[in-house]
Symmetry: C2
Subunit: 370 residues, 2 copies
């Protein structure tokens, strides 16, 4: 195997696939990045058996072939190279890979390419295209609600439900729930799957193009893939039954409050400086007289209180929340204003964007001593 | 105590003194920042008993007094405040401090101000003024050569020698030595002290003014202080005898090499990607035919090699170093080119700036297998 390519393109491709390199690999080969050179294309692959990432870049291939190099050293070495172009050549007998760029020459020991679990692209017949910004929004507004508790796997992923004209994503850790819908054209069939949060978070990091792209989503019985531009992400799915989340969305509320998103978020952030040190991170909200009083108290540190103007429609209410469950969602709201809908101090509340019924966030309040 | 001041000025002052707040305090009071309000000035202090920092800012004082607040929470709270001004008031009976800015109100529990070991400014008669850029350069070019080994305290600080017309700073960890001199006017007497690296590193972080300043350096028998602008830094000195470093500076060299600083540094950085994983981090330098070949080898990873153009005056030589001992000094060299002076493969080498005899760096080579 022998090829040369642009350093910057190779650095970017390595950065993308490196997200799938196992940090504590089950097998040494999984600490490597697989490079496959063929037909003027260099394909890079990495996998930790849960997720897999492929990225392709153009290259001048002199001799096709496969190699596997330590992900860590490949990344450090290529990034450091002084030239614009990189030459890479495998010397089969010595099992070494020579990397040259300008005045710099590196030799890295190669791992055995035939031990690498090469990723094969999914050929499921359940597949649909979706615009990148739609998929980003579905993920961004739900994935933060997932649980980290591996003991209950269904809550560590986002539930995706695809019907004829709409795709819905939902996530919950049982204390809060995010549901986001996007319209979809011309899809036949039905999909109900749970996608691990990990691959969705990687998708958010990798898919940052400013040019609109189409993402092709493909499912098999236990796998999903996302293909866009020169990147292919794949992951196993989570087995199990996602709970019927519709049941936890209250059908009506007594008090509806309209608030400025940025102003309320920064006030909650400040007030929770005091509660954050505590175990439950509780903030108390008192809605009355066109104001929300946000407060927190920690006997070891002190207390904080801030008032924010609001439009309150309905009876006054005093209610307490885990402040992280409030700030997480507000950071992902795009509208200048948002609606906070409340029932009783111990029944779930809803947060929705202004003039947008495609997103619903439900959060369970906390019982406080008073 | 009651005052108000500009939020930004208070944030900056807290940031400066926070560097002396003990991370693992011997006594709870040392986790606090002491605030003293008097005569339209707010003075902030922090100390961990080794170093102490004072910073003063203008404030509108309504009632003078002293308080001590948790350094961590004071910093987080003040930084987060929404307004341009901050009002701070101590309520003596409840032992709480009220902080208000715009819509935000915080209450922090106060520590006992009378337990705080207030820093008194040194009134030594051994004192001299020095320009900030001179002192910065003295520190920057030597402090990295200090040892971290607390078992041999004299090597954990910089030796400062002040004579009638010159101030010299030197530091060594016994494998390398930095010596830097700066001219000084009108100083009478002599100073020979060892200043802990910690206070010098804090000085480098705090003294970043772009406007030329004068730093007043004052010494007592076991303490030193640096006063500039609104800041006062103080530290205990290290007891003991600094070794006679002049003896380790070779009087002559066989080979003198002139190299481009940036080019050589980036090549050494790259080549040591391979050796850095190893225990000794060794790079080998071969000077011959107007080139330096820099190489490193790690049996688990591979090897690296790079050639850099140089002007070589004297016999060819092959010599090995701990690469960190080479890169550390090159990062602190300001001249476009530098001189590398070499004797034999096992005798100390010298690095000097181009056309500058005020700085000398001596580094001991490493014996290699070949």
């Amino acid at each position: 195997m022998k090829f040369n390519c642009k350093k910057n393109e190779l650095v970017q491709a390595i950065q993308i696939v490196a997200k799938a390199v196992a940090s504590k690999p089950q097998m040494p080969i999984l600490s490597g990045i697989y490079l496959h050179a063929e037909e003027q294309m260099l394909e890079l692959q990495a996998t930790d058996y849960e997720i897999g990432i492929i990225c392709k870049i153009p290259a001048e291939i002199e001799t096709p072939g496969d190699i596997v190099l330590s992900g860590r050293y490949l990344q450090e070495v290529i990034r450091s190279l002084p030239g614009e172009n990189v030459n890479i050549a495998y010397e089969r007998e010595q099992k070494i890979v020579k990397i040259n760029s300008n005045t710099a020459n590196f030799t890295l020991l190669s791992l055995s390419a035939n031990e690498f679990p090469v990723i094969h692209q999914l050929e499921g017949n359940i597949s649909f295209p979706i615009r990148d910004n739609q998929l980003r929004d579905l993920v961004k507004k739900t994935v933060f609600s997932c649980s980290n508790d591996e003991a209950r796997p269904v809550f560590t992923g986002c539930y995706m439900e695809v019907g004829e004209s709409v795709v819905t994503m939902a996530a919950t850790n049982t204390h809060r729930l995010s549901v986001k819908k996007e319209p979809l054209d011309n899809f036949e069939g039905a999909i109900h799957i749970i996608i691990p949060a990990k691959i969705l978070n990687e998708f958010l990091k990798i898919m940052v193009s400013e040019i609109p792209e189409i993402v092709q989503v493909t499912c098999s019985y236990n796998q999903i893939s996302f293909a866009f531009k020169n990147v292919y992400l794949t992951s196993r799915l989570i087995e199990g039954q996602f709970p019927d989340y519709h049941r936890v969305i209250p059908s009506d509320f007594k008090t509806r409050v309209t608030l400025d998103t940025a102003e309320f978020l920064s006030a909650v952030d400040r007030v929770s400086l005091i509660s954050r040190a505590g175990e439950y991170n509780i903030i108390c909200l008192e809605f009355s007289n066109g104001q929300v009083k946000i407060s927190s108290n920690n006997p070891d540190i002190g207390n904080a209180e801030e008032k924010v103007e609001s439009v309150i429609d309905g009876p006054d209410i005093r209610i307490a929340f885990n402040s992280k469950y409030v700030t997480d969602v507000l950071k992902n709201i795009d509208s200048k204003k948002f609606y906070f809908s409340l029932g009783d101090p111990l029944t779930p509340a809803a947060i929705r964007q202004e003039n947008d019924d495609t997103f619903t966030y439900i959060v369970t309040p906390v019982r406080t001593a008073r």
